[in-house]
């Protein structure tokens, strides 16, 4: 039988694993799924199903407004959300306008993402034309005032702002995207893809149209409150939200099959089988699994160490 001192010693050892070892383990386990993708079963969250279903319910030719407030610091999650959102919009021929209130770099990152997805969806050629099918309006440093202006008079809020068109620089409010847009209510949704606190700025000020958010993982608890109250019509949260969207794009909702996604709230909603639906969600979700597993194991190890240490005293 082990003596009390040896139990305490083991406990102490378990409590003081060297930091470099922990870092190395995390690095290795996070890298492995990126090298060898692991298909994982998934049950999309109701909030993600709502997000997808509302996009799929939009009539073709509808217009939506996107507030893109992410940059590459959260590209693992936000870029995946943006990719999935853009794929659905382009497949449904929905025009969109993009603006930013969170970060000066965000419009450029959004512009590059749109161009990339447009090429991928168009089989190498851009499916969506700048200015004709989408406009990138730019960055507004005063997020609060600008968002209130967007709600008050969306044309006045964006008046004077220009974007690249086939004939040079032109005012965004003259673009085909703004045809028939006289009020924010003419945009079917305002979707905020964000990794910062712009979600609350929008939530507090936008009253004339429906809201949906695509947020980073750490922002999910805060935004679940607004989804639960019905203020948000749909919510994508972190890499799980991305994987949910990719699952939904592949299988749709309530479509019979081995991977059927069920929802009592909706009838049959088609997916886009055969198209390039997998992306960052499929690539990174396994990495999230193994990283969380390491985290849980580390916490358990530390606690076991603490108990052994106490027992051995």
């Amino acid at each position: 039988m082990a003596s009390r001192s040896s139990i305490a010693e083991l406990g102490n050892k378990l409590q003081s694993l060297p930091k470099p070892a922990l870092y190395l383990i995390l690095f290795l386990v996070a890298s492995l799924p990126l090298i060898k993708p692991i298909p994982l079963p998934n049950s999309p969250d109701p909030a993600s199903i709502d997000f997808y279903a509302h996009l799929m319910e939009l009539p073709e030719g509808s217009k939506i407004l996107i507030c893109s407030d992410w940059t590459n610091s959260t590209r693992g999650e936000s870029m995946g959300e943006m990719d999935a959102l853009l794929r659905v919009l382009m497949r449904r021929k929905i025009k969109f306008a993009v603006y930013s209130i969170g970060d000066g770099q965000a419009p450029r990152v959004a512009r590059e993402t749109i161009a990339r997805i447009s090429r991928e969806e168009g089989g190498g050629q851009p499916l969506y034309k700048p200015y004709e099918d989408y406009v990138v309006i730019g960055f507004f440093p005063n997020g609060e005032g600008q968002t209130a202006a967007v709600n008050t008079n969306v044309r006045a809020a964006f008046a004077g702002k220009t974007d690249i068109s086939p004939t040079g620089q032109r005012e965004v409010v003259q673009s085909p995207v703004f045809e028939g847009i006289n009020s924010l209510a003419d945009f079917k949704y305002l979707i905020n893809v964000t990794a910062s606190s712009t979600n609350t700025v929008i939530l507090e000020r936008i009253k004339k149209t429906n809201l949906m958010f695509a947020v980073s993982g750490v922002m999910v608890p805060e935004n679940t409150v607004y989804y639960a109250s019905g203020q948000l019509k749909g919510l994508l949260g972190g890499i799980k939200g991305v994987y949910d969207m990719e699952t939904l794009m592949e299988y749709g909702v309530n479509n019979p099959g081995p991977h059927m996604v069920t929802s009592a709230a909706y009838g049959q909603i088609p997916g886009f089988p055969g198209k390039a639906n997998t992306g960052k969600g499929t690539a990174y979700y396994p990495a999230l699994h193994v990283c969380l597993s390491v985290l849980i194991l580390a916490v358990i190890t530390g606690n076991v160490g603490m108990f052994l240490s106490r027992k051995g005293r």
Partner: protein, 308 residues
């Protein structure tokens, strides 16, 4: 009401067609007037300066208070006319807000200039006097210069008449040296470093959780168990296996009590019954605090930060 702060179309004193000479002249005049105003503010006594800042803050805050609390027109159509003075004021507030927002956006943009000025002042001094770590200041200046040069060079090309072809990327063949240079600097270096910085958080979280997340008390144990359930609930593979196990135990009966022990059901209960009310409570507290802070700033009761 006066057309000031209202109606962008037709154009008023506050705007002009995009890219026009009129707009450039207005911008230059505004810049000169702004610089003169800042110069005057430096020259006048601090008491008077404080009064100017208080007045500007009070008027700006007052506008937004009126904008949010004064009854706004409902379902107003573009050709609607106010029927009395109060309605006229309400219409004016609504029309003026986007213009006020544009003005505050413009002022906000100048903060970037202020930041650059401050940064250059500190690092230029360090570089000139060759103080400790002056090499980092040199790197900062070189990086800033390169980014500004190639950023603007690329910007003017992209927003020129051939900009649409450039937006398609290098495959379109319209890229020149400045586009490639800007791409390497922004996407190749800057964005990757930003992503790298953020990814390091994972290592710190692991280390901190391992050392600090201990079941030392009843409260800590509850927190630990809850965190464990929530973490497991975002792991699809674990949820799937666990829930399949519960389904088998319940003999696939949807009315079975055992279904309450599915991982996604437990996680949903935690979110709906524990997390949501807690966050709502915190939000109310934060809201009241912000209201108090806003009032202090608006009424110039906040004396911290030294004399202005």
């Amino acid at each position: 009401m006066l057309p000031i702060f209202a109606d962008l179309d037709p154009h008023t004193i506050w705007n002009a067609p995009s890219g026009s000479i009129e707009l450039v002249i207005k911008c230059m005049v505004a810049l000169l007037l702004g610089a003169a105003f800042v110069g005057i503010c430096f020259a006048i006594p601090s008491q008077l300066r404080r009064f100017i800042i208080f007045t500007a803050t009070f008027v700006s805050g007052g506008f937004y208070i009126l904008f949010y609390y004064f009854p706004a027109p409902i379902a107003r159509q573009p050709l609607d006319q106010p029927r009395n003075v109060l309605e006229g004021f309400s219409f004016w507030l609504t029309d003026a807000q986007p213009i006020i927002a544009t003005i505050s956006n413009t002022i906000g943009s100048f903060l970037i200039g202020l930041g650059i000025y401050s940064l250059m002042r500190v690092h230029l001094r360090k570089l000139m006097k060759k103080q400790k770590d002056w090499g980092y200041s040199l790197v900062l200046f070189v990086s800033m210069l390169l980014m500004v040069t190639f950023g603007y060079w690329d910007y003017f090309d992209r927003f020129g008449k051939d900009g649409a072809a450039m937006a398609a990327g290098p495959a379109g063949g319209a890229w020149h040296f400045q586009q490639y240079a800007n791409d390497i600097l922004f996407d190749g270096f800057f964005q990757q470093m930003e992503a790298g910085m953020f990814s390091m958080v994972a290592f710190y979280i692991l280390s901190a959780a391992y050392r600090a997340f201990r079941a030392r008390s009843i409260e800590a144990t509850i927190l630990l168990a809850t965190a464990l359930v929530v973490m497991l609930s975002v792991m699809g593979a674990v949820v799937y296996q666990w829930d399949e196990g519960i389904k088998a135990l319940a003999h696939n009966d949807p009315g079975s009590f055992l279904n309450n022990f599915k991982l996604d059901v437990i996680a949903a209960w935690l979110k709906d019954a524990v997390q949501t009310p807690s966050i709502r409570g915190i939000d109310f507290g934060v809201g009241i605090g912000l209201l108090a802070m806003g009032l202090r700033l608006w009424l110039n009761l906040d004396k911290t930060g030294g004399a202005v």
